[in-house]
C-alpha cells in the first residue's frame, strides 16, 4: 500500500488513546418549515441537544427510526450543514476553530453515503472519483491515479477490470466498494458510514461488512456506523447510541444496550426486528403507529405517548441522559432514582 502519502505533522494522534477522537456536546439543528402567512413559525427539531463521544479505534453505532436525526447528526459532524448550537471537538480541537480548520478536519474524517449511485459522479470513471481528493490535496495526477488503483485493489476491485468503468456499469455492492475506497483516499482517521450497507443485498452486505472490518484493522480507523439494522449494528459496533426524535435515548456498550436494553424504546426496537424462528413469531407489535413528526415533539419525554411504562411524570419532565453504569447512559425517568416514576430505582442503589 502507498500509505503515508499525506503523512506529516497534524494528522497523527495528538491527545493519546484516552482522549476521544470525537466529542459532541449539546448539538442542535432546527430546520425552519415554510408556513403560510401569519401562522406561527415552525421548526423541525431534527437534532435537539445531542451529546456523545467516539473513542479512538472503536465503532460507534447510531440507530433509530426515520426522523430520529441520525443522518442529520452525521452531516453536522462532517460540516456538510451548519449547526445551530453545540460544540464538536476532534481529538481535543474545535472543528472549524483556529487550531483545526474545516478543511484540515475533513482530511482526517470522511463519509460513505447510503445511495451508492448518487454518491458517484456518473460522468467520471471510478478511478477518477477516487483520485479526485488526493489531487485536490496536491498529489500529481499520476500519483493520484496510482493511489486510486491501489485503493481499488484493496477494496476488492481488480483495477485492470474496474478502474476505467463508469458507475452505471457496476453493481450496487461494487459501487459501495468504490465509495469506501474514495473515503479512504485521504487516509482519514474517522469514517462516518451513513447506512452504507443498508441498500445492499444480504450476501453482498456481508462481504462489505467483512471488508469494513479488514480496513479498520489495516488503517487504524474509527467508525461511526449509522444503520437501522440492529443485527448488523450489534455485530460490527463496540458501542451503540439509540436516538429518538432528535435526542439520545440510550448510549452504551453494544452488548449491554442491545442485549439488555434499559430504555423502553430500545426494547421496542429490538422486539420489532422480525423473528427468524418460525416457532417464535411476533404476536403483538411492540409499538403502535408511526414515529411522530419532529415538528411538534411531545412534551416531557418524547417517547411517552408510545411508551408502555409512561406515567404522568413522563409528560411533564424531560428525562436527562443519566449514567446507569460506567459507560451506559439512559434518558428514561423509570430508570432514574428519585425521578418520581413508580418504577424508578431507590436513590441509593443504582441498577446495574
Amino acid at each position: 500500500m502507498t500509505i503515508g502519502v499525506f503523512g506529516g505533522a497534524g494528522l497523527t494522534d495528538r491527545g493519546g488513546p484516552a482522549q476521544p477522537l470525537l466529542t459532541v456536546t449539546g448539538l442542535v439543528k432546527h430546520f425552519p418549515v415554510a408556513k403560510g402567512f401569519g401562522g406561527p413559525k415552525k421548526v423541525v427539531r431534527a437534532v435537539d441537544g445531542v451529546d456523545f463521544s467516539v473513542v479512538k479505534g472503536e465503532t460507534l453505532g447510531i440507530v433509530g427510526e426515520s426522523g430520529c436525526g441520525k443522518s442529520t447528526t452525521a452531516r453536522l459532524v462532517m460540516g456538510l450543514m451548519p449547526h445551530d448550537r453545540g460544540e464538536m471537538l476532534f481529538d481535543g480541537e474545535v472543528i472549524g476553530g483556529t487550531q483545526l480548520s474545516l478543511r484540515a478536519f475533513r482530511r482526517q474524517a470522511q463519509m460513505v453515503f447510503q445511495d451508492s449511485y448518487s454518491s458517484l459522479n456518473p460522468r467520471m470513471t471510478v478511478e477518477g472519483s477516487v483520485a479526485f481528493a488526493p489531487q485536490v490535496h496536491g498529489l500529481s495526477a499520476k500519483a493520484a491515479v496510482a493511489k486510486a488503483r491501489d485503493l481499488l485493489a484493496r477494496v476488492g476491485l481488480e483495477p485492470t477490470r474496474f478502474a476505467g468503468r463508469y458507475p452505471h456499469e457496476l453493481s450496487g455492492g461494487q459501487r459501495q466498494r468504490v465509495n469506501i475506497a474514495r473515503a479512504l483516499a485521504l487516509e482519514p482517521r474517522l469514517v462516518v458510514l451513513d447506512e452504507a450497507v443498508s441498500a445492499l443485498d444480504k450476501s453482498v452486505e456481508a462481504q462489505v461488512l467483512n471488508l469494513l472490518l479488514d480496513l479498520k484493522a489495516e488503517f487504524d480507523l474509527t467508525y461511526v456506523f449509522i444503520s437501522h439494522d440492529l443485527n448488523v449494528v450489534r455485530f460490527i459496533c463496540d458501542r451503540v447510541m439509540v436516538m429518538y426524535l432528535g435526542r439520545v435515548a440510550e448510549i452504551g456498550p453494544a452488548d449491554t444496550v442491545l442485549g439488555a436494553p434499559s430504555h423502553p424504546y430500545t426494547g421496542a426496537l429490538l422486539s420489532s426486528m422480525p423473528s427468524l424462528d418460525p416457532d417464535r413469531r411476533t404476536e403483538v407489535a411492540p409499538l403502535a403507529g408511526d414515529p411522530p413528526n419532529p415538528i411538534d415533539p411531545p412534551t416531557g419525554c418524547r417517547f411517552h405517548p408510545r411508551c408502555a411504562l409512561a406515567e404522568p411524570v413522563c409528560a411533564a419532565e424531560e428525562p436527562p441522559l443519566a449514567s446507569l453504569a460506567d459507560d451506559h447512559r439512559v434518558a428514561c425517568l423509570a430508570r432514574q432514582p428519585g425521578s418520581g416514576h413508580s418504577l424508578a430505582p431507590a436513590s441509593e442503589r443504582i441498577a446495574a
Binding site: 502507498t2 500509505i3 503515508g4 502519502v5 503523512g7 452531516r75 462532517m78 456538510l80 478543511r103 475533513r106 482530511r107 474524517a109 470522511q110 463519509m111 453515503f113 445511495d115 449511485y117 448518487s118 454518491s119 458517484l120 459522479n121 456518473p122 460522468r123 467520471m124 470513471t125 478511478e127 477518477g128 472519483s129 483520485a131 479526485f132 481528493a133 485536490v136 490535496h137 495526477a141 499520476k142 500519483a143 493520484a144 491515479v145 496510482a146 493511489k147 488503483r149 483495477p159 485492470t160 477490470r161 474496474f162 478502474a163 476505467g164 468503468r165 463508469y166 452505471h168 456499469e169 465509495n179 474514495r182 473515503a183 483516499a185 485521504l186
Partner: protein, 309 residues
C-alpha cells in the same frame, strides 16, 4: 474533467515514505464513457439523424453559397418579376424585383442561420454562468439573481425582442444583442434548476468533504453533469431564435434590404402572396424546415442523454 487522468499507461512511482519498487501499471479496460454511449444511441435514432442531415445540408449550403449560387442574388430584372417556380433559369421563380429566388434563399441561409444561432450561443454562455452560480451558491445570491431574471419572464419573448430591438435601433448587431437578452433568462433558469438538483447529489457532498474549493467542484464535478441538459435546451431554442430573428427582419428591425435573409424576404414578398403564393411561401418553408430540424435533433439528443439510473 478527468482528462488529465487519461494519460495512460502510467509508470508507477515511488510514493511517500515507503519507496515502492517501480512497477508499470497495466492499462485498464476502458468503456466508451458517457458521451460515447450518447453518440451510439443517437446514431440509432432515425429521426434525429435525418434532422441532423438536414441541418448539415443547410449549413453546407450556407457556407458554400457565395461560390455556387446559380445567379447573382442581388441583380434584379424588372421584366422578370415574380416568375413561378420552374421557370427556365429561375428554378424557384423570382422575387418582386426579379431576383433569382434559389440564389437568394441559398445566400439568405447564411444570415438566417447566423442570426438564429449566435444569440443562442451567447445566451448559452451567459445564462449557464448565471444559472450555475445561482444554483451552486444558493441562498440569498440565488434569490437575487433568479428574481431579477423572473422580471424578464413578465414579458412574452416576442414583445421583449421587439421592444429591445426597437430601443437599440435596427441592425444585425442590435438584433443579436436583443435576442441574446431574450434567451439569457430562459437558459439561466434551466441552468439554475439543473445545478440545484446536481448540487444536492451525494457525490457533490463527497467532493466538498475532500476539501476542494467551490470552483474546483463546479469545474470537475458539476459542469459535466449540467452542461448536457442545458445544451439540449439551448438547441431547442435555436428554432425559436430563427423565427424571432426572421420576425425582427420582417418588421424592419433586423437585416436591411437588399441583404437576403429569410425573414426579410418573407416580408418583402408578402405583397406577392396573391400573385404567386408558392414563391412567396418559400422563405417561410425554409425557416420552418430549419427550425423543425433543430427541434427534432434536440429531442433526439435529449432522449439519448437520458441516463439509466
Amino acid at each position: 474533467m478527468s482528462a488529465p487522468l487519461r494519460t495512460l499507461p502510467i509508470a508507477g512511482e515511488p510514493i511517500g515514505a515507503r519507496a515502492a519498487p517501480p512497477v508499470a501499471i497495466p492499462p485498464v479496460a476502458r468503456s466508451r464513457g458517457y458521451w460515447g454511449g450518447v453518440a451510439a444511441k443517437l446514431v440509432r435514432d432515425p429521426v434525429a439523424m435525418a434532422a441532423l442531415a438536414v441541418i448539415l445540408a443547410i449549413v453546407l449550403v450556407a457556407l458554400l453559397s457565395p461560390w455556387f449560387t446559380p445567379a447573382d442574388p442581388y441583380r434584379g430584372a424588372m421584366l422578370r418579376r415574380l416568375r413561378p417556380i420552374g421557370t427556365p433559369n429561375y428554378p424557384l421563380g423570382s422575387d418582386e424585383l426579379g431576383r433569382d429566388m434559389l440564389s437568394r434563399l441559398m445566400v439568405g441561409a447564411r444570415l438566417s442561420l447566423f442570426m438564429g444561432v449566435t444569440p443562442v450561443v451567447l445566451a448559452f454562455a451567459i445564462g449557464s454562468a448565471i444559472g450555475i452560480v445561482a444554483g451552486y451558491v444558493g441562498g440569498w445570491l440565488n434569490t437575487v439573481l433568479m428574481r431579477t431574471i423572473d422580471v424578464f419572464f413578465a414579458f412574452p419573448s416576442v414583445l421583449l425582442a421587439i421592444a429591445l430591438s426597437g430601443a437599440l435601433g435596427a441592425g444585425i448587431f442590435n438584433s443579436i444583442v436583443s435576442l441574446t437578452c431574450v434567451f439569457v433568462p430562459q437558459i439561466a433558469r434551466v441552468a439554475e434548476s439543473v445545478t440545484t438538483q446536481i448540487r444536492n447529489r451525494d457525490y457533490v457532498d463527497a467532493a466538498r468533504l475532500s476539501g476542494a474549493s467551490a470552483l474546483t467542484i463546479v469545474r470537475v464535478q458539476v459542469l459535466g453533469n449540467v452542461l448536457g441538459p442545458i445544451f439540449v435546451y439551448a438547441t431547442s431554442l435555436i428554432s425559436v431564435s430563427m423565427i424571432l430573428a426572421s420576425g425582427l427582419s420582417f418588421l424592419g428591425l433586423g437585416v436591411r434590404p437588399p441583404e437576403p435573409e429569410w425573414g426579410l424576404m418573407l416580408n418583402t414578398l408578402r405583397t406577392a402572396i396573391y400573385v404567386n403564393p408558392a414563391v412567396a411561401a418559400l422563405p417561410g418553408l425554409c425557416i420552418f424546415v430549419t427550425s423543425i430540424s433543430f427541434n427534432l435533433f434536440s429531442d433526439g439528443l435529449r432522449t439519448a442523454m437520458e441516463v439509466k439510473e
